[in-house]
């Protein structure tokens, strides 16, 4: 052929790879870095300001408090990546959970009722997708309409001011019970093995085609960081965090559920044709159409996934309360969008990852938690969260401006 060498970014030793990484950051590809920075800064600030923030009890509380918002933000990423929005995600979950309650009240087995709830969520997603992709109504309008309508539907289904107990131990356990000590370690080990396996699989495929691989030391370093962060987390959660007589310890059950969903969702986005096409449609729908991608199908599928993951978030909510409310899901959706944006997901579509939304959700929950511990009124929390959102969007806009300037 020819002797022209074109690199792939996988060449070079550790030092060159690290240099290249910093170069990418300088060019504006910051990814989750600002959000991770915010997480560290906010965490450090509250640790200094409040003696309660860094306690084992509050550490565990943070994870449980963040679970609902994380799941909703992750759900929203699927449609935000398309440049769409789903304002009705929260109340969709509310409607699905109301259906769940009514079925249980009618004597249906809770597992069947839960499956129906997810089907209801998926059907609502398909409906939104149909209006957006086939008819051409902007998603903002469709989901704003549903946001209003479903608030009413919840009231119709459950009655004014309705709040009803759900007495299913398995469901309550998600947010209120913990894994045994060994369970936390086993789950961490499983995640490390999965993560290593995926990376080694990639390397094997590249090697099969005689393509260069990054130095293996970088993989070891990445796994070591995961192992340390995960190890510290599991260790702290396995300590007794009770202030009373009965000991409370272990990784809350919701964590492995959320992490697994995040892991599978990321695999779908990064490694399947659907994920690739989702990013393509979000980046340039016309280019995607000309490349033969069925754009409408991608849009509808994304809305279905979003609604079904939102139902997972709703399930977490019901588990925490041990009850179904008629007013569930109204507040949380805007926080979910904020979490995604704070994490670095672009509302214009095509840019962002699930883990970004999860980090953004933690930043927002940490602010709420910390300000609460410092006994600030709720108003301050909203003002601070709003400011962080605007700050995050500003950093994103500035970094991209600079990144676009670097063209050869």
């Amino acid at each position: 052929m020819s002797d022209v060498k074109i690199s792939s970014g996988h060449e070079g030793n550790v030092r060159e790879q690290v240099t290249a990484y910093f170069q990418r950051i300088k060019n504006g590809e910051m990814g989750a870095l600002p959000a991770v920075g915010a997480l560290v800064v906010v965490g450090a600030m509250f640790s200094i300001l409040s003696p309660f923030f860094l306690t084992k009890l509050n550490f565990a509380n943070l994870f449980v408090q963040a679970a609902e918002l994380t799941m909703l933000a992750v759900a929203l990423v699927f449609v935000i990546l398309l440049g769409e929005i789903d304002l009705s995600a929260g109340v969709t979950a509310g409607v699905a959970m109301a259906a769940f309650f009514l079925l249980m009240q009618g004597g249906t087995n809770w597992i069947v009722a839960l499956i129906v709830a997810f089907v209801v969520g998926g059907a609502i997603g398909a409906l939104i997708g149909f209006f957006v992709a086939r008819i051409g109504v902007p998603s903002f309008v469709v989901t704003l309409g549903l946001f209003l309508g479903f608030q009413g539907l919840q009231l119709v289904m459950l009655g004014e001011g309705g709040i009803f107990r759900i007495d299913v131990p398995e469901i309550k356990a998600i947010m209120n019970d913990n894994l045994p000590t060994w369970g936390g370690w086993a789950f961490l080990a499983l995640m490390l093995v999965l993560s290593a396996a995926v990376s080694l699989w990639d390397r094997a495929r590249r090697a099969r085609h005689d393509l260069s691989n990054r130095p293996i030391e970088l993989l070891y370093a990445k796994l070591a960081v995961f192992a340390i962060l995960g190890g510290v987390t599991v260790y702290l959660l396995n300590e007794n965090r009770s202030q009373g007589v009965i000991s409370i310890s272990g990784v809350p059950i919701v964590i492995p559920i959320a992490v697994l969903i995040l892991f599978i969702g990321t695999l779908v986005l990064d490694r399947t044709q659907f994920g690739r096409h989702l990013y393509a449609v979000g980046g340039n729908a016309e280019a995607a159409r000309r490349a033969g991608i069925k754009v409408a199908n991608i849009r509808i599928t994304a809305f279905i996934i979003c609604s079904m993951l939102a139902v997972v978030s709703g399930l977490f909510h019901v588990s925490r309360l041990g009850a179904v409310e008629a007013t569930a899901g109204r507040q949380i959706v805007l926080n979910g969008v904020a979490a995604a944006v704070v994490g670095g997901v672009s509302l214009f579509g095509g840019r962002g990852r699930l883990v970004h939304a999860a980090i953004g959700a933690f930043v927002i929950v940490m602010i709420e938690n910390g300000l609460g511990l410092l006994e600030f009124p709720a108003g301050v929390n909203l003002v601070v969260t709003g400011s962080v959102l605007i700050l995050a969007a500003t950093i994103d806009a500035l970094s991209r401006k600079r990144g676009n300037g670097v063209r050869s």
Binding site: M1, S2, V4, I6, S7, S8, G9, H10, N27, E29, W201, D202, R205, R206, R208, H209, D210, L211, L267, R271, T272, Q273, R276, H277, Y279, A280, G282, G283, N284, E286, A287, A288, R290, A291, G292, I293, G350, R351, G403, N404, V406, R407, S408
Partner: protein, 250 residues
């Protein structure tokens, strides 16, 4: 002369009462660059849309590699080996070069995207065109210049093993150096055996790189000449309708 890759004869197309193509003949040969020039409204776009299957012709014979074919959809055109690189390039800025080159035709092994295989093929396609301007095949398209984007779009057609590549105004938005790069690329593409058709308003570029020039004037092919046997002044004459050829064809 050998068999043309594409040969149109007596092609007609009208939109309602407006006849846009009035019996057009056109040929393009493998290994050669053919310019399709003409003023705005002469019917260039309509001619190309028929070839790419976006808007099939009303009548006329289309021969591909000497065989009569009917192109009714872009997919069909793709199967035959006809690729059109549109002026707006149709690339996703948020994806990298490899991902763009395989967009819609991703390779799957072990149930997931085979990034390694796609990266290898994309690299080979770029190398076959002696592309030196691209630093990494994993660069995002948003970080590429206009000329580099054009390069990626052209390399995509190589990857798809196109026999006929139609380039719509490939140098319209480019600076001097980048225009030069893209023209060199076009030459190399043709040298690899592909029939290349360039639509251009820039006669300087046309004379630099094209082997044949075909001129459309108000829906008729008024001239098809060898570049070496004509002058810019003559071609301008054909384009503006002040000069016509005396029945001769290339």
């Amino acid at each position: 002369m050998d068999v043309p890759v594409i040969e149109l004869s007596g092609v007609l197309k009208s939109f309602g009462p407006v006849d846009v193509l009035k019996g057009v003949d056109f040929k393009a040969y493998g290994g050669k660059v053919t310019a399709l020039v003409g003023d705005n409204g002469a019917g260039k776009s309509t001619l190309i849309k028929g070839l790419s299957g976006v808007q099939p012709y009303d009548a006329g014979v289309v021969k591909f590699d000497g065989e009569v074919v009917h192109v009714h959809s872009p997919r069909q055109a793709g199967h035959l080996g006809i690729e059109v690189v549109y002026q707006d390039l149709a690339l996703c800025e948020n994806l990298d070069i490899v991902q763009n080159m395989f967009l819609g035709r991703e390779e799957i092994t072990e149930l997931t995207l085979d990034e390694a295989s796609m990266e290898l093929q994309a690299t080979k396609a770029l190398q076959s065109l002696s592309v030196r301007t691209v630093k990494s095949v994993r660069q995002k398209v948003s970080s590429l210049s206009g000329g580099q984007r054009q390069t990626v779009a052209i390399a995509r057609s190589v990857l798809r093993k196109a026999k006929l590549v139609i380039l719509d105004e490939p140098t319209a938005a480019l600076g001097v150096a980048q225009t030069e790069q893209v023209l060199n690329l076009v030459r190399r593409l043709a040298d690899s055996g592909v029939a290349v058709v360039i639509i251009s308003h820039n006669l300087g570029d046309v004379f630099k790189v094209c082997d044949y020039i075909s001129v459309l004037y108000l829906g008729k092919m008024v001239a098809s000449v060898k570049t070496s046997e004509t002058t810019q002044a003559d071609v301008v004459g054909y384009i503006t309708g002040t000069k016509s050829m005396d029945g001769a064809a290339a």
